[in-house]
């Protein structure tokens, strides 16, 4: 039997074949987890918008034909790790998310945005939180 050390939850991940199911599934999972993380409604909307952009742009940059996202919900925080992506795919995904006249939506909405290379692959990390989270 495989179990985790006490107090450590199993990870939350979703893997969706690049195609028409990515958007509907990813936005639903992100919406549920953002609500679970007690993000206020405006930040929940932001999280779903980021999910929609990732769903729309990530398939062009993934390594194995699936869009893989790992989630780390926290108190009024939701972190996403997107990948594995092909080399250069993390930055390209963010650039692709620019909307004419609006700018780069993911950059504007995320509290943290970084790309971490791991050998021949890389991951895009996106964190959204509620600024008034301290209490």
């Amino acid at each position: 039997m495989t179990t985790n050390p006490e107090g450590v939850d199993a990870p939350t991940t979703v893997s969706i074949a690049a195609g028409p199911l990515v958007g509907p599934i990813l936005r639903r999972v992100v919406g549920m987890l953002a609500a679970r993380a007690d993000l206020p409604l405006d930040r929940l909307d932001d999280a779903v918008l980021v999910a929609d952009l990732i769903a729309a742009r990530a398939p062009a940059h993934v390594l194995h034909g699936t869009v893989d996202v790992a989630f780390e919900p926290g108190p009024r925080t939701l972190s996403l790790r997107v990948g594995p992506l092909r080399p250069g795919g993390g930055d390209a995904l963010v650039v692709d998310a620019a909307v004419p006249g609006v700018g780069n939506v993911i950059e504007q909405l995320a509290d943290e945005l970084r790309v971490s290379p791991e050998g021949e692959r890389e991951y895009l990390h996106v964190r959204l939180e509620y600024a008034g989270a301290t209490n």
């Binding site: 039997m1 495989t2 179990t3 985790n4 006490e6 939850d9 199993a10 990870p11 939350t12 991940t13 979703v14 893997s15 969706i16 074949a17 195609g19 028409p20 199911l21 958007g23 509907p24 599934i25 936005r27 639903r28 999972v29 549920m32 987890l33 679970r36």
Partner: protein, 151 residues
Amino acid sequence: MGSYAQTQLRPVTSMQRVDTDVKLTLPARPENVSVIRHVLGAFAEALRLPDDLVEDLRLAVTEACTNVVRHAYPPEHTGPVEISILPLEEHVTVVVSDHGRGIGTSSDTTGPGLGLPLIAAIADVVDLQPVPGGGSRVAMTFSRQRRGDVA
């Protein structure tokens, strides 16, 4: 509800690897069963599955996931529940698996529950398999052609 095709509930010794369109892994907690139900809803909407098929999918998958939440892991540990959804032209297969204590070894119930018989009554084919290394795997296949559909 119920299937017009023969329902099978049987142990299968070999693992069959399938390419899935959607694979979701979550901590086996009660609140995550609702996440799984929502994902099924999104899946069904995107593929425009008929309502009665969606109801059957939701009920069977909820039962399978609830079994994992209740019985797969000891209370002090929360392991993963994995859901794979494979939509094909003629049918939809959903696989719910865990890495817990396996089939039939739970000591926290006094008798057989309704979960597996209910799943067997709803799905067209059910495969119940042990997972090598520990755990169980329930594969449920639902025909897209529902009872009462005109051929």
